[in-house]
């Protein structure tokens, strides 16, 4: 057992070795470890974010679906209302039209009737004149009796 200067030299060497480890070997190892840790943390955070996003998206999609359903119901109701309105309108319109047609038809019929009556009147007048001329055995001067004839026609 001899304790001597070699111990001091070994201590210095050991200190230098520790220093070397601290300066040269330790930092890259720690950097690699930290990088790995960071990567794991990032991955986990990304996974969490993804999960969160998924939840949000699900919620949003449910909202959109609900909204769309509401809108669709609204549109249907509106459609129904519009349909009823249009039906009513059409009914009213048709009634008006029918009335108008009827009035026109009636007017036409009356016109026809009056025309026919006019024609008839003339014919009856003619007939009466003819009958009268036969009775009188002579011709009735239409010119002479025009006034009387037209008065007669008016009377008929």
């Amino acid at each position: 057992m001899n304790i001597n200067a070699t111990l001091i030299a070994q201590t210095i060497t050991f200190a230098l070795l520790v220093w070397f480890c601290m300066k040269i070997i330790w930092p890259p190892v720690i950097r690699a470890l930290d990088a790995r840790k960071q990567r794991i943390a990032d991955g986990l955070a990304a996974a969490d974010r993804g999960k969160h996003d998924l939840e949000l998206a699900a919620k949003r999609s449910a909202d959109i679906l609900r909204e769309a359903k509401g809108k669709a119901a609204e549109i249907i109701a509106q459609g129904e209302k519009l349909k009823a309105e249009m039906l009513d309108q059409a009914k009213v319109h048709a009634q008006d039209e029918a009335e108008r047609i009827m009035v026109a038809a009636r007017a036409e019929v009356e016109q026809e009737v009056s025309r026919a009556r006019e024609v008839l009147r003339h014919q009856v007048a003619d007939l009466a004149v003819a009958g009268a001329s036969k009775i009188l055995q002579r011709e009735v001067d239409a010119k002479a009796h025009a006034e009387m004839l037209s008065a007669l026609k008016q009377e008929l």
Binding site: M1, A5, T6, Q10, F14, L16, L17
Partner: protein, 307 residues
Amino acid sequence: MASGNLTSTEYIKHHLQNLTCTLQDGGFRCAQSAEEAKAMGFWAINVDTIVMSLVLGLAFLFLFRSVAKKATADVPGGLQNFVEVVIEFIDNSVRGSFTGRNPMVAPLALTIFMWVFLMNLMDLVPIDYVALISAPLGLEFFKLVPTTDPNATIGMAIGVFLLILFYSVKVKGVGGFIGELTLQPFASFFLPVKFSLSPGNLLRIVALIIIVPVNFLLELVNLLAKPLSLALRLFGNMYAGEMIFILIALMGGAWAGASLSGITLFGSQILLALPWAIFHILIITLQAFIFMTLTVVYLDMAHQKHH
């Protein structure tokens, strides 16, 4: 020897001597000199090797166990991060070199790597520090690095060897294993084509009987070379490294007063020991890795069926 100056030879011998103890005269006695240790014969124990390897093995187990118990799936903390890196590294290299399916191999590789690494790591402790602790305890010798003791490396290699034998027999069966030992590398040509006693077959059988011992000799060397190479490579590297540390340390020991040569020796001890220690950081890791990888490769070979 407990006091006074040592010659260089004594200094080297002292540092290379294990603390060898045995049961003697009804009590547990430790050798006080190399001659005494030698005289104890086979039935002695290198207490320093046992203690250091046990302490370091337990340190590894407790360290990893404590991390494993607290392991979280979240972002790993400092120690867990380190342990994960080590385990990932081992797992990757086992995946790379082990083709079979055996859940025992990766943990075995991890244990071997960490244990050998920690035992090698003791090489970086300044060699004379040990004496500062062991001498007051009354221990004449104490070798801090178990892997510089061939007993430790050969012991580990025997463990690996038994595993190789076990898995060889388990995977290939006794017949398959014997076949592998006797019918390689020269055989298939001599195997009888059909079970008949035709002259050709008789000739083949005779040739086979001649060739089997040759094969067995070759394969036995092949088989025994595995644990031997494992043990001697690790021991040789660490022993040589330790030896150079001792030789370098001798320079400082030669310092006698503040003479020019003394200071030069003192300075060159530092100048030499530092690069050697830095180089050894690489060596100890590499040796641990080689021991682990070769174990895995040998076990992989034990798991493979050739014929």
